[in-house]
Symmetry: D2
Subunit: 352 residues, 4 copies
C-alpha cells in the first residue's frame, strides 16, 4: 500500500528461513490483495514450505514488499502462467469469486494441490451458489472440493486435493455454534457480526476511504449477505436447519472480527454449556475458551479463535462470542493450516 | 482533558451569545465529566438560557475550557452550594448514580427544576433500582420524577419539575422498538448494542486507556448490564413484556452508538413496517428514518436518532437499527431537549 | 460517502434556516468533494446566505445529503451551467487545480463574486505556478485575484471580486509565522506539518484506503510539496525571504492539522514573543493564543487557528505550533469568512 | 489490560518453545507495564532463553496473560525477591526511573547480568541525570553501565554486565543522525518526533484516556523533554556538540514512532548522503534504508529501524526520517538484542 521500499537488505533477507529441505514448493496466486499477500508472507516465513512464485493480475514485476512493506517478501509479482506452474506442488489461490474457479481448474490440471480462498467451491448445492454468485465456472470440480473449516473436517482435508477455504464470518460463526448445533440444541439463532476493514478487501473505493470509515460504525448487507447461505449450509450439515438471522457491521479497525451469537435453546434448562464447549474443543490447537468475552485485539495476527459462551437464564438463550483475525483464521492462516494437513505436516507449522 | 488553555480570547467570547432576555438561569452540576461538560456547553450556546454556574466535586477553580478545550465555556468550576443555588431556575445534574439523588433533592428543595442524568430516578419499581444500584437515597422523589424519553412522554415532561433522563442504550433501543411494542408485535427481542468510549465516562482506568481500546472491540456486561432492566421497564410500559437479551460492546471511537435490534414478530406476515415507523415518527424533529442502515458518524454531534427498519422474510423477524450520539441524544442533548419543554421553550431550541 | 439517506424529513428541514431576507444567492461548484460539500453545508446553515445551487461533475441528480449524510443539505447536485448561474450573486468553487480556472472565468463573466479553493489564482508569479501545476488556464484573471488569508489581507478581500483561498498548510504556517516575519526576525525556518486524511481529498485510491492509513503515520512529498512555494511566496511578501524547509506528514485522523514551526531568530535574545503574538492577533476573532501547545481536536469543526509560541533559549529558536481544522480554516470555513467580507457581512457570520 | 482469560489452553502452551537446552534463565522485573510485558513475551518465545520469573509491584499472583491477553505468557506475576533471584542468570528490569536503580543494584549483587530499561544508568554525567530525574540511587554502578544502543556500542555491550537501554526517541534519533554526526557534518539540528501512546506507559490517567487521544494530535514537553539531554549526550559522543531542538508529539496510534530530523549541514554541497548511510549500516541486521520516507506501520511488531535520507538542495539541509516500533527497537526488542550479545548469542535470536 505504501510506496517506500527497502534498498539496503542484508543478503540473508533474500533467502527464506527454511528449516532443512522444504516439503513443497508453493505458488500464491492473487498475491496483490490483502489475503493473498498474507498467504505469501506466511508461506515465506514457513519453516517447511518454499515460496516458489507470487502472481497477480496487476502490478506484475513489482516486488511484493513494495506493495506491502509491512511484510517481508522480496519476490516480484509475476503473471500467472499455469503451464509454468508445474514446478510447484501446491497453490493458494486468492482471486475474487468467479475469477478463481478457472485458475483453480488450470492448476489442478497440472497436478497442484490447491487451497482456494474464494467462494467458488464452498457450496454443496450449486443452485445456492448460483443464486448469490452467478454461474459456476468449474462445476465439475465442486464434487472433489472439501470445505476447509479445519476443526470440522480435518480428516477429509488431509486427504483432499482441493480445499474450499471458508469465508471469515462462517469460520467464526460455525466454530461458535458447532457444539450446540451438533447436539441439536438450537431453536433459532441471531448472529450479529462485526469485521475490520481488511475483510472488505483492497478495492472498495470511497466506501473504504479512511474518511468514510474513521469514527464510523455501520451495518451492511441488511437485505441479505452472501455469507448467510454459507453459514446456513454448514449449520444444516451439523444438524441445525433453523431460522438464522445474520447481519454484518463494519468496524473502524484494520484486522479483527467478532461474532455475537444469540441462540434460543431447545433445552433451556440443560447442561453446563462451558463444559460442553471445553470438551468439544479440548484437542484443538487454535480454539481457546475464555472466561469472559474476548476482544478482537487478543487474537490479532494469530490463527486463534477465542470463544466465550454463557447461558442467559431469563431468555433461555445461549450467548456465544467468537473472536478471530479475519485475515488469519478467517482467510490466509486457515489456508496454511489446511495446506499443512494436505501436505502431511503438523497443522500448526508456520502458524505459531 | 488537555491542559492547553486560551490566553487571548476576544472580550466578546466571555459573554454568552444570548438572543434577548434569557428565559432561565441554569446550573450544571457535575460539569467536569463528559456529559456534564457537554450539558454546560449546550446551555452556554443556547440562545434563551443563561449558564449561571458550573460545579464539580474536583478541580474547583479551574475554567471549564481548560479541562475541555474543545468546548468554549470560560466559567470556572465551583463547589456546589445548594444554599447559593437559589439564584438559578433550573439545573442539569450529571453526577454518578447514587451521588446524584441527594444533590437533586437539595436543588428541588430550593425550587429548581431538575433534569437528572443519573439512573437514580429512572425506575418506577424501587426494588428493581435497589437490585442494580443499591439503596435509593431520595425515594420520596421517585414518585414525582418523569422518565425523560421525550418522544414518549413529551406532555408529562412539559409539566414536570424533575425529569429522569434515560440511559443512552435505553434511549436508542426504546426509540427503535416503540412502534412495534406499542402495537404488541414483539414476541421476543435481541438487542446487540455498540457504544463509543465516551459513553463509559471520564474515569475507567486502564480499561479505557487508549492502548486498551485502540484497534480493539469487546463485548461487556455479558452477565447482566444495568441498562437491561431499564429497557425492560420501558418496553413493558409500552405493552411488550417479552424475553429480552441485551449485550453492549465497546467501539474504538469517541462518540456514537448503534443498537441492532432483532425482534421476532407476533404477526410475521403483517403490514408495512417502514410505513408504521414513518407514521409513528412523522412529527418528531429528532427522529429520522433512513432507507439503509445508518452509520453512527451521520449523527455525531447532533441530537438525532436515525432509524432503519427492515422485515426479514425468512426468519419472521424485524431488524431495526438505531444510531445516536451517546453524549447528545443519549445524554446531554436530550437533557436540554427536556429542559426546553419544562421551561416552555421550543423543544429544538439550542439543539440545531 | 455512505449510502443511507433520510426518508422522513420534517418539512421544515427542506428549508434553510434563514434570518430574514438573504443578502446573496450562492452557488457551490464541485460540491461532491470534501471541501465543496462542507462549503455547501456552511452556506446552507448560514443565517444570511441562500444556498441556490450545488453542482458537481459526477453524481448529478443525487441529493447531497445522500453522499454526505453527516451534513444536512437536501439539494440535489446539478451539472454546472454557467449560463444559468446568472441568478446567483456569488460562488464558491471547489474544483481541482487546473480545472478550476475555466469555471471561475465563466462565473466571473456572469458577474458572480467568486471564492476559489484551488491553487489556480494563488500565485503572484505565474512562472512559479507553471512550475508546480502546469500552464495557467485563465492567466488574465490572476491580476484581479486577492490571496484570501483573511487575517493578512482583510481589506483587499472586502473589495475583491475574486479571492484565491489559501491552501491548508499555508494558512496554518503563515498565521504561525507572520508576527515574526513581519518584524524581520526569521533567519531560517523548518516547518514540520501534519494533516488528517480529509486534506488529501475524496480520491486517492489505495493510498487513502482505511487499511493503508490506520495505525500508520507517514511523511510525504519529501522531494518537494506544492504548498512549499505558496508558503515561501507569502513569507517573502511579509519580508521573510529565508531558507524554508517544509515537510508534510499524514495523520491517521479525519480532520485536523498541526504545523510545528522551528524558526531560527535574527535576534535570539530579543523581546517577549508571547506578547508580540498577543498584540498581533488581539483583534482577530478566529486566532487564539494558548498557554501550551494545542491539540488538533480542540479546533475540530471550528474556524479557529490556535497558536502557541515559545522561545527556546539554548538554540535561539522560536517554536511555534498552530492547529486548525484543515476543512474549515484550512478551506471551506475560510472561504465563507472571505465571502462574508466580500458581501459586506460580519466576518464571523455563519461560522460560530 | 482486558480481563478475559483463556480457560482451555492446550497443555503444550504452558511450556516454552525452547530449541534445546536454554543458554540462560531470565527474570523480567516490572512485567506488568507495557515494556516489561513485551520483554517477558519476547523471552518466552525466545528459542534459547528460559523465562524463569516475571515480577511486578502490583497484581502479584495474576497470570501475565490475564493482564495482556494479546501475549501468551502463562506465568503468574511474583513479588520481586532478590534473594531468590540467584537461580537466574540475567534480568531485564522495566521499572520507572528512580525505582529501577536499587533493583538493578540488588540483582547485580546476586551476579545477574542486567539490561535496565529506565534512564537510571544512561547518563555519563551524573549532574545531567540529577537535573532531569533527581538524585541517582546507585551512582556507584554508573561507571560499569554501557549505553545500549546496539549499533553504536556492540562490542562493549557484549562484554558488559549492566546495560542501560536507550530511550525510544534517542534510539531512533541517534540512528538517524549517527552517519552525519560521525563525519562532523551537522551544523545544527531540529528533531520533530512523534510517538504512539504505548510509549507513554500504562499509567497516565485522563491524559491517555481513549477520548483524550482519539482523533487528536498534540505536541508535548515543549518546555524541555527528558530525552533531549540523552540525545545531546549521544550526539556529542559522536562528535556533534551542536544546537539541538527536540519536540515530541503524541500520535493517536498504539505502537510506532517516527522522528523527522532536519540537519543543517557543514558541507551543503558534499557527497552522496544515501551512499553514506548505506555504507554505514551495510552490516546491520535491524537497520534498513528505504527509497522513500517510511511509515511507522511498516515496522510495527518488529525490531527494525527504517531510515530514509534526502538532501534538500535549497536549504542545505539533510532530511532524515527514522521509523521504529517504540516498544520493540525503542525498548524491549533492543533489550533482548543486547541480552543476546551479553550472553554470547546471535544478536537477532528471538527477534525475527
Amino acid at each position: 500500500m505504501s510506496e517506500s521500499s527497502v534498498i539496503s537488505h542484508q543478503s540473508s533477507v533474500a533467502e527464506q528461513p527454511l528449516d532443512g529441505e522444504p516439503v513443497a514448493r508453493v505458488l500464491v496466486a492473487g498475491a496483490s490483495g490483502f489475503t493473498g499477500a498474507l498467504a505469501a508472507q506466511l508461506v515465506w516465513a514457513h519453516p517447511r514450505l518454499e515460496l516458489a512464485r507470487v502472481t497477480a493480475r496487476s502490478e506484475v514485476g513489482t516486488p511484493l514488499e513494495r506493495l506491502y512493506p509491512r511484510y517481508r517478501v522480496p519476490l516480484a509479482l509475476e503473471e500467472l502462467d499455469p503451464d509454468r506452474a508445474g514446478d510447484c506442488d501446491a497453490a493458494i489461490v486468492a482471486y475474487p469469486h468467479g475469477a478463481a474457479a478457472p485458475v483453480v481448474a488450470a492448476l489442478r490440471e497440472r497436478g497442484l494441490k490447491v487451497v482456494d480462498l474464494s467462494a467458488d467451491f464452498r457450496f454443496r448445492d450449486l443452485d445456492e451458489y448460483r443464486r448469490w454468485y452467478g454461474d459456476p465456472a468449474a462445476p465439475e470440480l465442486a464434487a472433489e472440493a472439501v470445505y476447509g473449516l479445519t476443526e470440522l473436517y480435518r480428516e477429509r482435508i488431509a486427504g483432499a486435493e482441493l480445499v474450499a477455504n471458508p469465508g471469515c464470518y462462517p469460520t467464526a460463526t460455525v466454530l461458535a455454534l458447532a457444539p450446540l448445533a451438533e447436539r441439536g440444541l438450537i431453536e433459532d439463532v441471531v448472529v450479529d457480526a462485526k469485521s475490520g476493514v481488511s475483510g472488505a478487501g483492497r478495492g472498495g473505493g470511497e466506501r473504504l476511504h479512511f474518511v468514510s470509515v474513521d469514527e464510523n460504525f455501520t451495518p451492511y448487507g441488511t437485505d441479505g449477505h452472501r455469507h448467510r447461505p454459507e453459514i446456513a449450509q454448514e449449520l444444516k450439515a451439523l444438524g441445525a436447519d433453523v431460522p438464522l438471522t445474520f447481519v454484518p457491521h463494519l468496524l473502524p479497525i484494520d484486522q479483527g472480527e467478532l461474532v455475537s451469537c444469540y441462540a434460543r435453546l431447545r433445552d433451556p434448562a440443560g447442561g453446563d454449556l462451558e463444559e460442553l464447549y471445553r470438551e468439544r474443543y479440548a484437542a484443538e490447537p487454535f480454539v481457546e475458551l475464555t472466561d469472559q468475552a474476548p476482544g478482537v485485539r487478543e487474537v490479532r495476527d494469530t490463527n486463534l479463535c477465542r470463544i466465550h459462551v454463557v447461558r442467559e437464564e431469563g431468555s433461555g438463550r445461549a450467548l456465544v462470542f467468537a473472536a478471530i483475525d479475519n485475515l488469519w483464521k478467517g482467510a490466509s492462516g486457515q489456508a496454511v493450516q489446511n495446506l499443512n494437513l494436505m501436505l502431511g505436516l503438523a497443522e500448526t507449522e508456520g502458524l505459531e
